[in-house]
Amino acid sequence: MSEVAGGIATTNATHRRQPAERGTLLGRLLTARFVQGFAGIGAIVLVWWIATALLAPEGGLAARFAPGATFESLLVLLASSDLPLHIGVSLKRILVGLALALAIGVPLGLIVGLNKTVEAATSPAFQFLRMISPLSWMPIAVMLLGVGDYPIYFLLTFAAVWPILLNTAAGVRHLDPAWLTLSKSLCATPWENLIHVVIPGVVGHVLTGVRLAIGILWIVLVPCEMLGVSAGLGYMVLDTRDRLAYSELMAMVIVIGFLGFLLDAAARALHRRWLPGSSA
């Protein structure tokens, strides 16, 4: 996280320092960053290839996970299989989990942030619940909610609600006192204060929470989908294993990594779009 935030801060600082040269300088920077990033990915593929093709014993299991076979399978999977369907199912689960976490986390976060008594009463409980790995609820969720989408929604929501709740509450505590004085001096009702000052004032923190939540959701999703469901990326991982389609299994790992990368990029773009030039 800190690495990512640091990266954003550096580009912003460059923007400010060189407004006149922004185009060319940013262009050069982007190119440099792009090249460096590409080189890093290339290095990983190289290590992967060395490990599976050179170091592994000839004809062993490891060779079946080699880059060549994996990318071949990936192309086949993308061209002619149910993979897009499974991706769609997984993304839908992410969205439902995120929506539920927002619907629960934002109002609760506002209440916790606005009321010191509630905060004191809930803080230890939330810290306790937050530190329970969502996956440890898995058997309980399946026993109570049955197999299917519901236990997955429950687990995803449970995983994603904490960063959103805690960031919303932190956002309320960090509201500029001048804004609150202003709305008080304008005789705002508590409702007007909430709608016109508090909620817009915490959007930045909520979006930070969303970004953290998306990272957690994606990590929790795959093992969740290994529980008696018949679609989704986690299901595909187990399915390829059971079919002994090892290069496809490795291709699924690549797909999961790539989609996670895109999701995080989308969350970051959303954050930047809503808060241009902010430090939140």
Binding site: D176, S183, S185, E192, H196
Partner: protein, 257 residues
């Protein structure tokens, strides 16, 4: 001349925090419509606290504040306050910041058209027409302060409380804003309390100057200035009052430390 009820009246205000002695003791003030009173005093003497009490943002430990004859329990819809920190909402454009709060339930009812005219006029008065669609992050410090002043003007308040609102402005904009304040007070007969460090500003604008000092702070002296507006600081009488104020302020600072 009939003796009207003062628009803003403060009666034996005492303000203290916790167990320590009061910071402000037995302060009284009465303003009529169209009057400008400036509060001068050493920094840290409690001028800002006094303004907050007058605005109803803070309850005094004792005493009462009344607007147009009736005592206030809290903030009053016809009292506007501007601080040194403009306090613009960063997610609203300048135009929306100026209109912020005009449609709140406890504010005087306004038709949408009237609201638009009010906002438009206020923005024009502070000379920010060209920047109306900008966000606060895209405004200079001076522009932000003018926007905050416009937000007060749009409400057409009966009482205007200004806590060093021109502090961060450059000389020329500052003079512009002082002239603007005088026109607004003349046009709307607003009772205005101004807190400032600047003795010349006080001399140019005020009908009365109140010197706050001592611990606990109280009114040490008061000057009435009965010169017509707009004033020129080369007038001999202003020079005499100026020397008087400087001496009194000096004594107050010594006593304060």
């Amino acid at each position: 001349m009939t003796l009207a009820t003062p628009l803003l009246e403060a009666d034996s205000i005492t303000l203290g925090y916790g167990n320590s002695g009061p910071v402000l003791a037995d302060f009284g003030l009465a303003l009529n419509a169209g009057e400008i009173v400036t509060i001068l005093g050493p920094s840290g003497v409690g001028k800002s606290s006094l303004i907050r009490v007058l605005a109803g943002l803070q309850r005094p430990s004792a005493g009462r504040v009344a607007v147009a004859g009736s005592a206030i329990e809290g903030v009053h819809p016809r009292v506007a306050i501007a601080f040194q920190n403009p306090g613009l909402l960063p997610w609203l454009t300048l135009e929306r910041n100026v209109g912020f709060g005009l449609s709140f339930k406890r504010q005087p009812r306004l038709a949408a058209d009237d609201r638009r005219v009010r906002i438009e006029t206020a923005i024009r008065r502070v000379g920010l027409e060209h920047a109306r669609h900008r966000l606060p992050a895209e405004l200079s410090g001076g522009m932000a302060q003018r926007a905050a002043l416009a937000r007060c003007l749009a409400r057409q308040p009966q009482v205007l409380l200004l806590d060093e609102p021109f502090g961060a402005l450059d000389e020329i904009t500052r003079a512009d804003m002082q002239r603007l304040l005088l026109t607004v007070v003349r046009d709307f007969r607003t009772a205005t309390v101004l807190v400032t460090h600047d003795i010349d500003e006080a001399l140019l604008l005020s009908d009365r100057i109140v010197l706050l000092g001592g611990a606990p702070a109280r009114q040490l002296a008061q000057w009435k200035i009965e010169l017509p507006q707009p004033r020129d600081d080369s007038v001999a009488e202003l020079g005499r009052i100026r020397i008087d104020i400087v001496q009194a302020l000096h004594k107050a600072v010594v006593r304060h430390h």
